[in-house]
Symmetry: C2
Amino acid sequence: MYLKPMYSKELLKGTLTTIILRLLATHGKMYGYEITQKVKILSGEKILIKEGSLYPALHKLKDEGLVKTETEMVGNRMRKYYSLTEQGGVSTKEKVDELFQFIDTLKVILNVNPKLT
Amino acid sequence: MYLKPMYSKELLKGTLTTIILRLLATHGKMYGYEITQKVKILSGEKILIKEGSLYPALHKLKDEGLVKTETEMVGNRMRKYYSLTEQGGVSTKEKVDELFQFIDTLKVILNVNPKLT
DNA sequence: CTTGTATACATAGTTTTTCTATGTATATTT
DNA sequence: AAATATACATAGAAAAACTATGTATACAAG
C-alpha cells in the first residue's frame, strides 16, 4: 500500500507527547491503536506514529502520572484505554501553550525581513 | 546572569538546521557566534542555541554541501563565515516549506473539535 | 593588574526521542 | 488459505541536541 511520505521524522520530536495528551484531552479515553489511526486521519496520512514510538511514550506518561489506564476485553482482544489524570490535564495545557509559543517564535525567526534587523 | 527559561529543548529538534539555513538565506554570510546571538535576540532570549549544537550542525551542513565557508581574521581572532551554496538555497526553501506544512498539520491535530471527529 | 565577561572556534561523551525490527495473538477480508 | 487489519509490547539503532570541556583573544571593572 502506498503512503505519502511523512514529514521529516525529526520534526515530530518533542511534539509527540503533546499530541498524545491533547488527543486524550479532547477524546476522553483512547487506546493505543486508536491514537495512531486518529493522528493518521487528522494529518491526512502525513504523520504516521509508529508503535515503537507510541507505546514507550504512553508508558512514560503513565510513569510520570500524567495518564492512567483501564484494560478492557473486546471479544478476545485486549484493549488498554488511556485517559488523563488531573495532573495530566494541567500538563496538557502547559505543553500545548508552550508549543504554540514556540511556533510563534519560530515564525519570527524564519520570516525575518533583513531590512528590519 | 538570569535568562528566561528556554523552550523545552525537544521542540528545537528538527528545526535547528532550518533556522540556520533560513538565517543564512536572509543575512547572506554569518559566522557561528553571530548566529547564536541573532537567534537569541530574535526569539526574545527564549531560544538559546548552544555551541555544542551549533558547530556540529554547521559542519554537517558543510559536509552535505548546503553551505560553504570562508575564513577571515578580525584583529587576531578567527572568524569563519558560512553562506548558502546553490544547493543550500534550494534546500532552505524545501525545509522552510515542510516546516510550515508540519505546523499547519499540527494545528489541525491540536485544535480538534471532538464534535467534528 | 587581575578577574570576569564577551567573543570565537571546536569536540568528546551523554541524554533523549523516535525509529526499525521483531515478537505475540486475534479478527476479518479476499 | 493467505493476506490484511487490529492490538499490545520491547530490544537495539539512529539522530539530534545537550553538557562539559578545551583553546584563545579582547575588553571592562574593580
